[in-house]
Structures are given as structure tokens and as C-alpha cells.
């Protein structure tokens, strides 16, 4: 599904290049659950952003679903977001002014899904995540774990084939974190959704089936688990 070759990312300041990523080459197959690990400032988030096409690499090649996306037109990228990629954030990033229901509905509106289809999908998601009762609440009326559930529901609404999660449990207590990771594993196993997450915690990484260790912008280790 994902092929990256010799990805490099650096920021030039005063003629000096500050490398964030160097020669990252890897491939991720459909249905994998990959955890990117490493100390702070290692370049994990940058790599995830590049994979999510939120940032462009300075050098290297990136193929997504057999298509070269190293440089991508705005329009193409929006198409990918609408149909193939779902994002989950550490700070949830729900829209404060909208209810739970409306938050989940937003990507479907952009995808131009019909009214009845939209309703049934949202109802389905609310049901699955046990948040039906909360659908008319606003994000700041929910606990962190519930907000992240909504965040994941929103990411799933468009039925993506890939979920990119940046420290999805970083703001959560351990019990809630476990619930979220369990959910990820279920999604990966039962629905075959490819998941790439960035995490600090070894424990979270164990939920996946592959771990990429990164340090100083270089992939140090690539291990299969489970």
C-alpha cells in the first residue's frame, strides 16, 4: 500500500541543514498495524505527516496505492483525504462549535454522501462506539476518552483504508488508553483497515503487528510482533 524510498527531510537555516529524517525506506502492506516509536524529536511525527501528505519530503519518493504522490496536486490530495485516509490526533481536534453528531457527519458532507446513507452510517458508528446518548453534546461536555472515541468515529465515517494516528492515547488515562488501543486492534483485525500510529509507549505498540524504531531521523529497527 505504501512504498517510500530514501525519504529525507531537512530544514535549512543559515546555510546549515538540520535533518529531521534521513534515508527512510520502507513499505507498508495493506492490513498492517504499524507503530512508529522513538524518543522525542526523533522525527516520528514528521514521518507520519509525510505519510499523511500533510508535509512534503525534501527528497525521496513516495508511492501510495501504486501511485506516485511525491508531489501532489491540491485536488488529488483532497480526494485521498475524502476516500482513503482518516486522521486521529492526540488533542482530538474536534470542532468545538459542533455536536458529536455533526462532527462525525462533517467528512461525509465533504464526501457528498446522500442524506439517508449518511444517517445510517452515523447511527451505526454511534452505536458501535456506545455514544448514542452523547450525540447532541458538544465536545467540551465529554471526557477525554469519549472525545477520542468521537475522533476515531469521525476518522472511520468516510470508510478509509488507512488510519494515521498521532499519539492517539497521549492525553488519556491508562484505562481509556487501553480501550482505544483495543478498538484499533479490532478495526485492524476485523475490518482489515491499515493503521499507522505514533506512540511513546511500548505497551501501546504491542497492540500492532509491526514496530518501526526511529532515532535521529533514521530507522534503527523494524520488528514484527505477535
Amino acid at each position: 500500500m505504501i512504498e517510500i524510498k530514501n525519504i529525507e527531510k531537512y530544514y535549512a537555516s543559515k546555510g546549515v541543514k538540520h535533518y529531521v529524517l534521513r534515508h527512510v525506506t520502507t513499505s507498508i502492506k495493506k492490513g498492517e498495524f504499524v507503530s512508529i516509536m522513538g524518543p522525542s524529536g526523533a522525527g516520528k511525527s514528521t514521518l507520519l505527516n509525510i505519510l499523511g501528505m500533510l508535509e512534503e519530503s525534501t527528497y525521496g519518493q513516495y508511492e501510495f496505492m501504486g501511485e506516485d504522490v511525491t508531489t501532489l496536486s491540491e485536488r488529488k490530495r483532497i480526494e485521498l483525504y475524502r476516500n482513503h485516509i482518516g486522521f486521529v490526533f492526540q488533542a482530538y481536534h474536534l470542532i468545538d462549535e459542533m455536536t458529536v453528531y455533526e462532527n462525525i457527519e462533517a467528512p461525509l458532507l465533504y464526501k457528498k454522501i446522500g442524506n439517508s446513507e449518511r444517517k445510517s452510517r452515523i447511527a451505526d458508528l454511534l452505536d458501535r462506539f456506545n455514544i448514542v446518548a452523547k450525540k447532541d453534546l458538544f465536545p467540551n461536555q465529554l471526557s477525554g476518552g469519549q472525545q477520542q472515541l468521537v475522533g476515531i468515529a469521525r476518522a472511520l465515517a468516510a470508510q478509509p483504508s488507512l488510519i494515521l494516528a498521532d499519539e492517539p492515547t497521549g492525553n488519556l488515562q491508562s484505562v481509556q488508553a487501553e480501550e482505544i488501543m483495543e478498538l484499533f486492534r479490532k478495526l485492524n483485525k476485523e475490518e482489515g483497515i491499515t493503521i499507522i500510529q505514533v506512540t511513546h509507549a511500548e505497551k501501546n505498540a504491542q497492540y500492532g503487528n509491526r514496530i518501526l524504531h526511529i532515532a535521529d531521523g533514521v530507522v534503527k529497527d523494524d520488528v514484527q510482533v505477535g
Binding site: R75, I78, Y81, R82
Partner: protein
């Protein structure tokens, strides 16, 4: 000085002619007064004292009206003075009535009272009685200026509260360090005071720069530094400064100092930001003013166009009016000049209309009509359009005796087809009968604020030597200046010392339109300022909102929103405000503009077009303004906004 080209004029002799065939009087210059720098109530080029009451030998019966000025020895109570004066005047009147054998009580029986009063010169100058007062004329301008000031204040409040987010941290820290709320309010008020004092100085500089252009454009003479009421103006400015500071500064200062330090320092003050509703109301208010202005311009433009292209009822080209009475011998001489088609006189022509009311009896009904005395050729010279019958002509002997021509308004009043019919005029015990021979189209002789009166036109039996002070000359040549020169030469031989004054009907027409044009110019200027101020406010507000919603925009982009969708999203929230403002301003504009239109006797129906145009314009410029900011926000990389800090 203009006369002599030098300021050493004492003892020089000027010949003064009071009227056309006055032989003149030699007068010696005995003094020169300095011209005051400001406009005068009583302006004069020269002052003379002859000790006699002047009588024009042509019209010995003319009354002369004059104003009486008196300087008091000390400040006195005008009310008391008026009382004394009135009793003296009433006594005098009674005495004079006895002489003229009129019963005093009879004369004043139907509600009339003898009247006389003094006015202080200051009042007369600032607010002349017996005409539309200055205050009345200035009212719309004062209103408009107040609105402009209000818009600016609103902008300030809007921006200051919007910016307050950035200062919230400062407030939080200061509060934690033990600052009183009052101290914070004072601090922020002082800051806005500083800003408005800077604005005050800039405005003084601008006045200095712009005033000459303004004076030129609007044909007025305003001065700032040399103004006699300079101290008064300074006081006003000071008051304005305090007012603006409080108006603009207090609300933001209050909002800012009210921040809860805990939530501010925690970093989620943006959520707790209140006053969004208030800001929206202020934006609506601004746009109501702007849209009203745009509508007003549209309607005024249409009305002006209507007037400019209006059929005056007479041909204004190639027609001049000499300030003189009709005199047969002179008229005959002029009419022989090549290029002159008609020479005529009338008591009613644009620029100098003198209307005499008369009551006529038509088929037993009494009708009040306006009478205009003309010479045989006057209607032809004016080039009026004949609707029925005929106009006066030399071929009909009785035209100088008992025939009249009506205008359309009069015909409407008495009879649709009046030609050939008679009416009676009572003159004491006798009844005069006149025959109506024709109906002409109404022609304008006054401003468009007045309707053309129902009028009957009569040829004077004197052959037109009446006291009209209008001598109309119609040319049938393109080169009228040549003919005018010849007329002037004729005039010189007849009245060697009296200057000939004339005005073309074209310039008279422009003169009639002038006041109105000035008013419209002013409205246009003000509305340009108002619209740009409102847009400035909207621009700043959209910047603020775009910044406040950065996170939301980033999230939406990641969810697959395109840039256009983001821009639309931001536009929508402002568009609602603008549309709302439009809805509010329609009735307001309708009422105001209708009031303005009521001032014209000849006016257009309220057009719909300017309303729609104003709405479309306001929406387009609002969308453009917001889109600039919204696009900036939309193309920003979402990563920066989504980073967790």
C-alpha cells in the same frame, strides 16, 4: 482697490448710478475699511450716505425696504426691548392709519398682528430669520458626520475586542500579580486615549491639507486656524476627544480587565471569548449605514438624471435675459440686429419670477390663478409648446385687450378644453371678460422643488413697458456672442454709464441645479468614506475570525474540505450579517430617500433598482473582503495548527 489698482484712493471720485437712466452723482472716497476674513451678514463694496431717500423716476411708487441696525450701549435684554419697540410701533401704526383713514382694528381683525422685533446680530448671522436657517440646511450633514464618527468608533471597539485575545495573557499575569481591576481599566483607557490623541493630531494636519480642496469642491469658505471661533472649535475637539476615548475605549477595557486569570493562563481563553454577538451587531450596524448611503446615491443619481433631462417646457439654449425693463424703442433697435429673433419681456422666467395671484370666475366657479404679464413675443421667445389653440400674435388685435393663454396646470384646474371660452375678473363693481385662446405646456420658472403654478398669461395693454426687469432675447444664430456684442453697443449709446447685465438661460438652469448637485456630491463623498470604513472593519474582523478558527479550518481540511469550501464557510458567517444589514437598511433608506424626494415637486417614483444594486454591491465587496482573509487561512498548511503544544 479693484477699481483703482492702488490703495491710495482717498479723495478720488466715483460716479454712482442708482438706476438705468440715472444721470449719476459724483462721490468722493473718504475712507477704506479692511475686508473681514469671514463671511458677512451685511457685505458691501462701498457705503454711501446721501441723506435722501432714493427714488427711481421710472417707478416713483416703489417702496424701499431696508434693515435697521442699532448698537446698544451695553448688553440689554432683547425681550424687554422688543416689548417697548412693539408698543411704539403699534402707536405709530395707529397714528399712520388715522392719516390714511384705515381703521386699526379692522386692519388687524383677522388674526394679523402688528409685528416688529429686534434680533441680536449674532443670531441673525448664525441663523438668519425669514429663510431656511443654516441649522436646517446643515442638519443632514451633521447627521452624516455623526454616523461616520460612530462607524469609526465601532471599528475601534471591534478591533480592540478582537485584539484583546493577544493581551489576555498580560491581563492574566497582572491580575495574578495583584493588580486591581480598576487599574487595568485605567491602563486600557489611557491606551485608547493615546491613540485618539494621535488621531486628533493627524486630523488637524489633514484639515490643513484637505480644507482648501474641500472649499474649492463644495464652493464654501471654511477656515480652521483663522476661524473666529477657534477657541470654541478647540473646546469641541477636546470634548470629542474625551467622548471618543470613552466610547471606544471603555468597552474593550472592561472586557479585557474582566478576563478570568485562571482560564487565561491555562490557555483556553479563546473559548471564553464573549462579545461575538455584540461585534456582529456592530458589523450589521456599519453595513446598514453603508448600504443606506449606496441606495441614497442610486436614487439621487436617478432623480438628478431625471431633472437634467426633464423637458423644461421652454428652449433654454440661445436665450439670454438682460437685467432691464422692456422699452419699446430699445427693443425695436435690438430686434433689428441680425441674429436676434425675438425681443420680449415677461414677469415669469427662470431666475426671476414674480407671481401675481388673481381670482377669476369661470362658469360661476371662483378659481385662484397666477397671473403673468408678457409682451407679444414672450411665449415665442421662450419657445413654449402650444397644446391647444394658439399663442399671442400681432395679427389678432384683441390680444392686447382681453385674450389670455393658460398653461396646462391652469387648464387642468378649470376645464379640459378651455379654448374659446370666457371667464370674468371682478374689479370693484365692474366685471372684465377675458377670452381663452390657447393652452401651452407648463414651463419651469423656478427650482424643481416647486410645482409649476396654474398660470394665465396676459399681454399688457401698455405694449410691454411694465416693470419686469427681464428682457428676453432669443437668437436664431449659432454665433450669439456676435449679436450680444452688438446689443451691448446699442446699450452703451442709450445708457452710457450704466452697465448691461445679462445671464444665459443655460447658466441660469445650472444655477438652479447647483445646490442640489452640491448636496449629492457631499453624499457621495461621505458614502465613499463610510463604505471604506465599514470594509476596513469587516476586513479586520474577518482576519480575527479566520485566526480564531484556524484549528477548525485545519481539521476540516484534513477531513477533505477543499479551499473553496473553507472560503465559503467563512464567507457564510459574514454573508448572513451583510444580508441582515441589507434587510434592515431597505426600509430606513426608503424613508430617508423618500423624504428627500418629497422636496421635489417633480420627482421620480421610488426606483427598485438602486436597492437591488446596493445589496448586490455590498454582498460582492463583503465577499471579496472576507475571501482575501479566508483564502489565506484556507491555504495555510494544516500541520502547524494541529500540532499539539
Amino acid at each position: 482697490m479693484k477699481l483703482f489698482g492702488t490703495d491710495r484712493v482717498l479723495g478720488k471720485v466715483i460716479k454712482v448710478l442708482m438706476w438705468r437712466n440715472d444721470t449719476g452723482q459724483d462721490l468722493t472716497v473718504t475712507g477704506v475699511v479692511a475686508d473681514p476674513p469671514t463671511p458677512q451678514s451685511v457685505s458691501f463694496n462701498a457705503m454711501m450716505r446721501t441723506g435722501e431717500q432714493d427714488k427711481d423716476p421710472d417707478h416713483p411708487s416703489n417702496s424701499h425696504y431696508c434693515q435697521v441696525y442699532a448698537r446698544m450701549q451695553q448688553t440689554i435684554d432683547t425681550a424687554a426691548l422688543n416689548k417697548t419697540l412693539l408698543s411704539v410701533y403699534t402707536d405709530f401704526k395707529k397714528a399712520s392709519f388715522v392719516k390714511r383713514e384705515i381703521n386699526f382694528n379692522d386692519f388687524y381683525k383677522d388674526g394679523k398682528t402688528p409685528g416688529l422685533k429686534t434680533l441680536s446680530l449674532k443670531d441673525v448671522h448664525g441663523n438668519p430669520s425669514f429663510q431656511i436657517s443654516w441649522l436646517e440646511k446643515l442638519k443632514p450633514i451633521i447627521g452624516i458626520t455623526a454616523f461616520l464618527l460612530l462607524i469609526s468608533v465601532i471599528n475601534f471597539v471591534n478591533l480592540a475586542t478582537a485584539q484583546s485575545v493577544q493581551r489576555a495573557k498580560e491581563v492574566g499575569v497582572k491580575k495574578v500579580l495583584g493588580s486591581y481591576k480598576k487599574q487595568l481599566v485605567v491602563q486600557f483607557l489611557l491606551e485608547s486615549a493615546l491613540q485618539s490623541i494621535i488621531a486628533l493630531f493627524i486630523s488637524i494636519i489633514l484639515i490643513e491639507l484637505v480644507l482648501p480642496a474641500f472649499n474649492h469642491q463644495f464652493n464654501v469658505e471654511l477656515s480652521f486656524w483663522h476661524n473666529e471661533q477657534f477657541s470654541g472649535i478647540l473646546l469641541q475637539l477636546l470634548a470629542l476627544f474625551v467622548l471618543v476615548t470613552l466610547l471606544a475605549g471603555f468597552y474593550p477595557a472592561w472586557i479585557l480587565s474582566n478576563y478570568n486569570p485562571v482560564s487565561v493562563l491555562k490557555g483556553n481563553y479563546e473559548k471564553g471569548l464573549k462579545g461575538v454577538a455584540l461585534r456582529n451587531i456592530l458589523v450589521i450596524f456599519q453595513f446598514v449605514i453603508s448600504v443606506t448611503f449606496i441606495i441614497a446615491i442610486g436614487v439621487m443619481h436617478k432623480q438628478t438624471e431625471f431633472i437634467n433631462n426633464k423637458d423644461l417646457g421652454f428652449e433654454r439654449g440661445n436665450l439670454i435675459n438682460i437685467k432691464s425693463n422692456y422699452e419699446k424703442s430699445f427693443a425695436d433697435k435690438i430686434s433689428r440686429i441680425p441674429g436676434v429673433e425675438y425681443v420680449a419681456t415677461t414677469t415669469q422666467v427662470m431666475g426671476n419670477a414674480f407671481n401675481v395671484p388673481e381670482e377669476v370666475t369661470y362658469k360661476g366657479n371662483k378659481v385662484a390663478l397666477n397671473t403673468v404679464t408678457v409682451s407679444m413675443d414672450a411665449l415665442k421667445a421662450l419657445g413654449v409648446k402650444v397644446l391647444q389653440g394658439r399663442i399671442f400674435s400681432k395679427e389678432y388685435k384683441q390680444d392686447t385687450v382681453n385674450t389670455v393663454v393658460l398653461n396646462e396646470a391652469a387648464a387642468k384646474l378649470i376645464d379640459k378644453n378651455p379654448v374659446g371660452k370666457n371667464y370674468q375678473v371682478k374689479d370693484g363693481p365692474k366685471n372684465h371678460t377675458f377670452q381663452i385662446v390657447g393652452v401651452i405646456k407648463d414651463y419651469h420658472n423656478e427650482g424643481f422643488d416647486k410645482a409649476v403654478l396654474p398660470t394665465l398669461y396676459k399681454v399688457t395693454h401698455l405694449g410691454g413697458s411694465s416693470n419686469t426687469n427681464n428682457l428676453l432675447i432669443r437668437f436664431n444664430t449659432e454665433n450669439s456672442s456676435e449679436a450680444i456684442k452688438k446689443i451691448e453697443a446699442e446699450w452703451k449709446t442709450l445708457y452710457p454709464d450704466y452697465p448691461m447685465e445679462y445671464i444665459t438661460m443655460n447658466s441660469e438652469f445650472q444655477h438652479v441645479l447647483e445646490d442640489n448637485a452640491r448636496f449629492i456630491n457631499m453624499i457621495i463623498l461621505f458614502s465613499v468614506v463610510s463604505v471604506s470604513l465599514s470594509l476596513l472593519g469587516l476586513f479586520a474582523l474577518s482576519t480575527f475570525v479566520a485566526r480564531r478558527r484556524t484549528k477548525e479550518i485545519a481539521v476540516r481540511k484534513v477531513l477533505g474540505a477543499s479551499n473553496v469550501q473553507i472560503v465559503n464557510l467563512l464567507n457564510k458567517s459574514f454573508l448572513i450579517l451583510v444580508v441582515l444589514a441589507n434587510l434592515i437598511s431597505w426600509p430606513i433608506a426608503y424613508i430617508l430617500v423618500n423624504k428627500w424626494l418629497q422636496g421635489f415637486a417633480y420627482r421620480i417614483d421610488m426606483p427598485v433598482f438602486p436597492f437591488i444594486t446596493a445589496t448586490v454591491i455590498s454582498i460582492i465587496i463583503a465577499v471579496l473582503t472576507v475571501s482575501i482573509q479566508a483564502r489565506k487561512a484556507a491555504v495555510r498548511n494544516p500541520v502547524t495548527a494541529l500540532k499539539y503544544e
